[in-house]
């Protein structure tokens, strides 16, 4: 079912429909998607956020995303998987990452999607800066 993983970095708004179109086949019975969304507050910090910006090192980020997709396929496959991270400035409510996983049954689709986002947050060279309503900014690493 995994023809080719669809991996990307883009400064354009993420379109879940495009990712789903990439993974959907007549053999799949379940499609699970994940959107990471810019929140108005960050964990452990009460300053109101009014935007985020992301930067990525494509040279390492794209191969690592591909590797995560292949690991998900090896663990939970057959699956189709698409994984795209946004870069640049995001308003509140915009998606920073979109993942779509198609599988014959729902268990592996959920598991592979959750695996992918967990690993992206640990391993992919992308950095987030929060912009607060008072004009301050802060680079926020994942815990």
């Amino acid at each position: 079912m995994l023809v080719a993983a669809y991996i990307g970095l883009t400064s354009e708004p993420l379109e879940l429909g495009a990712l789903i179109a990439h993974v959907r086949t007549n053999a799949c019975g379940a499609i699970v998607t994940f959107l990471g969304v810019a929140r108005e507050t960050s964990a452990g910090d009460e300053r109101p956020v009014d935007g985020l910006s992301y930067e990525a090192y494509a040279t390492t980020a794209l191969p690592e995303m591909q590797k995560i997709a292949e690991e998900a396929e090896a663990r939970f496959g057959p699956i189709g998987i698409a994984l795209v991270h946004r870069t640049g400035a995001l308003a509140l409510g915009e998606a920073s990452i979109a993942i779509a996983v198609a599988a014959p049954h729902r268990g592996p689709a959920f598991d592979a999607c959750e695996y992918a986002i967990d690993e992206v947050k640990k391993r992919v060279d992308v950095w987030k800066r929060e912009h607060y309503t008072d004009g301050a900014t802060s680079w926020r690493a994942n815990a």
Partner: protein
């Protein structure tokens, strides 16, 4: 010899560039490049332990040998997703 240094996030802000070609002496390593950057931007010192180095896209140790034309990336802890 020339090494292209790429910096991200807080490290980028402290060194004052996102990408710069730096002329280094033979025998230079990621650690020696970092040390020279610290002399210009003291706040980098506290970030050394958490910063990874990649040469031409592959993670390397601080004492790896650099070659002319290499791209050295300074990679802070990630925050994507």
């Amino acid at each position: 010899m020339d090494v292209r240094v790429i910096a991200f996030a807080r490290v980028r802000e402290l060194v004052g560039f996102g990408e710069r070609v730096i002329d280094v002496t033979a025998g230079a390593t990621p650690a020696s490049v970092w040390a020279s950057l610290e002399t210009a931007a003291g706040e980098l010192v506290g970030l050394r332990a958490s910063t990874r180095f990649a040469v031409n896209g592959a993670l390397v140790a601080g004492d790896a040998a650099l070659a002319d034309g290499d791209e050295l990336a300074l990679l802070p802890p990630v925050g994507g997703g």
